[in-house]
């Protein structure tokens, strides 16, 4: 039982962090950023030296952890901010559909850029190998990594909450997320807030890359896609613009997935995702505005 809770929390953590990255950007510019998954993949590949060989040539991946973690997080933040400056800045006034397709095209560019440098063959990396040990906790034997994933996520969430609640940047971001035009009329600098949102979102992508990379031991250009999709769904059912809702929904999706895997009979297990998505439709029908509705968020899609 305890095991199931931990499993659900592990998967939910990844989804929650992903959903947060999408919700942050959606909040300030109503952009559903489909490039987010590719930013995650990019962060993992940043650890490798470009090569078309099957064997990965590890580059930054050999750094000690206290340098490795900031490195990956900074790569994520940097790339994300770059996307904003080069691409998304030109789409401030565009419709959500246009922005969405632009973000998709951008993700496409990042993906094929990686493909050109690294080929499509998934590469193996040993990221933070010390974490692959099992530990005993409350009578359940868990991989250390699972525990660290959960703790990291909780720390990131706590850190982000403090940042948003206690700092001026946080205040401006929350105001901007709720009513961007009004915040600007009060002197809140649009570009700075949006860049900050992108930086945070990118940093979260870096965090996911680290967790996911050490969990799977693989760098694959497609790796961000599955998390990105779930995160996107979590953002919507959580209530667009509501960061708390995104996190909650991320954990719920993780839990739903794990619970279905446990309770479904073996023949029905391959259909797990069909049940999960069915549940998503039900949630949307009963709470079209999402689980937690951000007050004052006007829908524009």
């Amino acid at each position: 039982m305890l095991q199931i809770v931990f499993d659900a929390l592990t998967l939910g953590s990844l989804y929650a962090l992903g959903a947060l990255g999408i919700a942050l950007i959606f909040g300030v510019m109503r952009l559903v950023n489909f490039a987010h998954g590719d930013v995650i993949a990019f962060c993992v590949f940043a650890l490798l030296w470009p090569s078309v060989d099957a064997v990965a040539i590890v580059f930054a991946g050999n750094l000690p952890w206290y340098l490795l973690i900031p490195f990956v997080v900074l790569v994520g933040a940097g790339l994300s901010v770059l996307c904003e400056i080069v691409v998304f800045r030109r789409f401030r006034d565009a419709s959500p559909a246009t922005m969405m397709i632009a973000s998709f095209a951008l993700g496409f560019v990042i993906r094929y850029f990686l493909l050109m440098l690294f080929t499509s063959r998934p590469k193996s990396i040993s990221l933070l190998p010390a974490l692959s040990q099992p530990v005993e906790i409350f009578g359940a034997r868990l991989p250390l990594l699972q525990l660290i994933t959960i703790v990291t996520t909780l720390l990131v969430l706590a850190g982000l909450t403090i940042f948003l609640r206690r700092t001026r940047f946080g205040l401006e971001m929350r105001a901007a997320a709720e009513n961007f035009a009004m915040a600007r009329m009060l002197g809140v600098r649009a570009n700075r807030v949006i860049m900050l949102a992108f930086a945070l979102s990118g940093a979260l992508a870096g965090a996911i890359a680290l967790i996911f990379g050490s969990q799977t031991g693989t760098a694959d250009i497609q790796m961000g896609a599955a998390i990105m999709l779930m995160a996107f769904i979590a953002t919507v059912i959580g209530g667009l613009g509501s960061l708390g809702g995104a996190v909650l929904a991320g954990f719920l999706l993780g839990a739903a997935s794990v619970v279905m895997q446990v309770v479904l009979p073996v023949d029905a297990r391959p259909f797990r995702d069909a049940f999960v998505y069915g549940a998503v439709i039900l949630v949307l029908l009963f709470r079209p505005q999402g689980l937690l509705v951000a007050r004052g968020t006007k829908e524009r899609v």
Binding site: V109, V280, I281, L285
Partner: protein, 362 residues
Amino acid sequence: MSNATTVDTHALDSDKIAVRQPSRFSLAGRTIWTPLLLSLLLVAIAVITFMIGSRPFNQTVIDVFVRVILVVGLYVFIGNSGVMSFGHIAFTCLGAYAAAWLTINPAMKKISLPGLPEWLLATKLPYWQAAVLASLFAGVMALIFGRVLMRLSGIAASIATFAVLAMINAIYSNWESVTGATSSVVGIPIVRTIWPYMIAAVVAVFIAWAHAISRSGLALRAARDEPTAAAASGVDIPRERLVAFAVSGAIMGLGGALMAHSVGVVTPDTFYLGLTFTTLSMLVVGGMGSLSGGVIGVVLLSALIQALRWLEAGVPIGDSTFAIPKGLQEIALGIIMIVILALRPTGLMGNREVTLFRKKTK
């Protein structure tokens, strides 16, 4: 003045005037040029292809026609309702598999898809009959899903449509005895002549046009541009959306059936995110507010892709060959799409239609 922000380009376009009831006949007469010109474009492409006579190029153009059908299908719902849908490829999937069920040799079907009902196992139809039935099947399924989904609007509707796609994909990827799960369903008769695809694309264009000028299509576009006003004047938005959803589902199904016949194999992963985004991109780049935008988006982007492939393969310039590195084609395509959207956020066509009389549209 309070709603100055919503008084925007659509405010006085011909749709709204049309809602104020001119004669249906004159409306059809005024707008018929759009489907005619688009069809002319498609026919011209087909004839040129036929004259060139290269088999690979023929196949390329068949692909373009299939995409035209799919994007026109998307336009019928997304363009008219303004609601983004990520789920329409689900109906393409339904159509493709339905076509497979109806056309595969019964002897082969008994082995590979034993879970099909007896009457279906025994059926073998010509591909065009199968395509019509597949399209109807997809349309009916769209009607069923739509009844539930059309209560939603905005991004909740978008996600719900995606959830439908993901559900159908999960089911078709695992229902071993009926869909063959993830393995390719084979034995679908391959049709390599270009004409059926051209005819289907032209038919799709005309269906989209007929829907757009129907009472339902006009009401839906009025609701897209001014939801409050439309609702106040008695437009039942969910119902009009449902009509568009079913019509577009049927067109997507037709596209799926033809796609199956163009390649000869179907697998569930063909009908998932990749195709969803390719077709959506073509629609948005072309201009999702107009039928012409959809068709022209497909033709131009397909031409662009071919041109880039050609560059990738190498172009002889004098004695040397100029070629862009492998893989750069996709990167260039992505960048060009971003540039087009940055310059023309409403797509190449905006909300305009091609027509002979420029005054009638804006």
